[in-house]
Amino acid sequence: MHLGADEPPQECQYTQICTRGSPHMKKRRKWRVFPGRNKFFCDGRVMMARQSGVFYLTLLLIMVTSGLFFAFDCPFLASNLTPAIPVIGGVLFFFVMGMLFRASFSDPGILPRATPDEAADLERQIDTSNGQTTAGYRPPPRTREVLINGQAVKLKYCFTCKIFRPPRASHCSLCDNCVERFDHHCPWVGNCVGKRNYRFFYLFILSLSLLTLFIFAFVITHVILRSNRKGFLDALKESPVVVCFFSVWSIVGLSGFHTYLISSNQTTNEDIKGSWSTKRGKDNYNPYSYGSIITNCCAALCGPLPPSLIDRRGYIQPDTPQPVPLSNGTSVYTTPQMHSHMCDQYQCIQSTKFVLQAAATPLLHSEPVILAGGPHLPGKTSLAGHCGPLVPVQTSIPSSMPGLSCGGELLALRDVDAHCRHHHFTSPDETPSPPQPPMPPMPLMPPIPCATHVSHIHPTQLYDPASQDSLHEDSVRGLVKLSSV
């Protein structure tokens, strides 16, 4: 079938191929390509921070303490005092657990990162207002001043998310997200505390302090009642619940602190920085406060609950570019057609490819080499280098190396460089000299079992450092260093 040279018929063909039952084109949910450092469970319904070990500790402490109370103290108290005690205790316990799960598992108010068009538009605006800066010089931190209810507030630009942060938003370095009305990152809860889950967090610590005081009081009552009959030390032995005195007071103290914050409509972040403290200036006041304590409390606890902005269970649209997170924290945008062909392993390779492409083009001006991460092909590894601009180099990887990491790919790239070494540089000035200690010519990343395997497979194409000139070595190190981020 002959196609005209016009673009639209080819476009037509490509669209048809894309939508017709290719196994890679099944719909994927957006949480799979979320750029922040969060963990998702239950197909995107539950999200937490990456390090959630302390959350399990919290869970354990609460359950063990409550469990011991219900097991050892409640029977005595229910029979001797009133059965309402375990009932109230039970209700409090379930409320605490509910609030904890709600605070830990919900989206704290994450701001999605800017789309490429938005980011470009902002850059243009900033460039026109600042004037052009010299290449390679990092511009000063970008801020915008805004007058909020008469108070001057600086909006900062987030280089990771490529947005100007709204007032009261902050970038959490642990989760790598900008969060609206950022309070703090709580390791006990295993999540950031922000606009959407602050009330759950507050209700959690409030109800937990009530629960711990409740348990503490009734354990003491139990001990006293028993000691009337048996003696104090014996009673203590039979009541093994020892609620840590300090943890009670720390939780109660934290509730008190957050009650103060809510009544003055401040976040922990603002309070610690002293943003609205009168020490900063006589005219410094909190522009977000509603004026009265009751209104502030009602607004924080009973105000409307905004929806999540990140749409984690939505499906990725085939045409929209999605961010592919690189390990250095920035993102690279690819379309889902490309993305769906990648598993995590190749995601790394693909993003490495972009970095190499960017780095390689000015250096290998006659033979830019791009390593394309393709699917596994059985058979001998062979490297074919082409001359010409931006031609993908197909590297077939033997299926016997399932654990091939980026390191192996990089080594393969360096072998390709060995091929192209005669075509590289016109002048030493063009090569970058990265400021790092000289790297060993063999594998960079510690566990690369495939590296030696690769070198066995092409004996004639071994990377032989002795035959390289120093300039080439430097540039290769530079490329490899760039790709190893």
Binding site: D6, M99, P287, Q317
Partner: protein, 174 residues
């Protein structure tokens, strides 16, 4: 004559597949995206969701100032209604707290109801006012409530007809 498979394939991937949005589909097919304008947030009243009503210069030749300002002001009013702190929101909040927030499994929050209204309003505005002028408004919720994105389309008039004829010859040649 436009080739049927392409339209059908594209139709299934468009988010608003409905007979009445035929105009918007035609807009996306016939026109090419030339520029995007971003209307930023207005923070002078705090963190409430409000967009600037300043008229972007790129839209100068495309749409009347008053129409644009009306759209933005209506959107601002909707968002203010969603975030209003008053009797109804307190009632909803207290009821939710009393049921340990389980009530939201059955019921929508007021904010979500207003967001649906906003979405319908934007679709209606696109159909009636913006698409005929070669513009398209993207719902701010899809951009994290940071901006109102207005896409400007250039009409591909003459090039559209030539591509149509070549695809006809292509299909007849099979």
């Amino acid at each position: 004559m436009r080739s049927a498979p392409r339209t059908a394939a594209r139709r299934t991937t468009l988010p608003f597949y409905h007979q009445s949005f035929h105009n918007l589909q035609e807009l996306r097919h016939n026109a090419s995206l030339s520029n995007k304008v971003f209307v930023q947030r207005d923070y002078t009243e705090g963190t409430v969701c409000k967009f600037q009503t300043k008229f972007p210069s790129e839209l100068d030749s495309r749409i009347e100032r008053t129409l644009f300002e009306d759209t933005v002001k209506t959107l601002n009013n909707y968002y203010a209604e969603a975030e209003k702190i008053g009797g109804q929101s307190y009632l909803e909040g207290c009821l939710a707290c009393a049921t340990a927030y389980l009530i939201f499994l059955c019921m929508e929050t007021r904010y979500e109801k207003v967001l649906k209204k906003i979405s319908h309003y934007i679709q209606e505005q696109n159909e009636k006012i913006y698409a005929p002028r070669g513009l398209l408004i993207t719902d701010p919720i899809e951009r994290g409530m940071r901006v109102i994105e207005i896409s400007i389309y250039e009409d591909r008039g003459s090039s559209g007809s030539s591509s149509g004829s070549s695809s006809t010859t292509c299909s007849s040649g099979r």
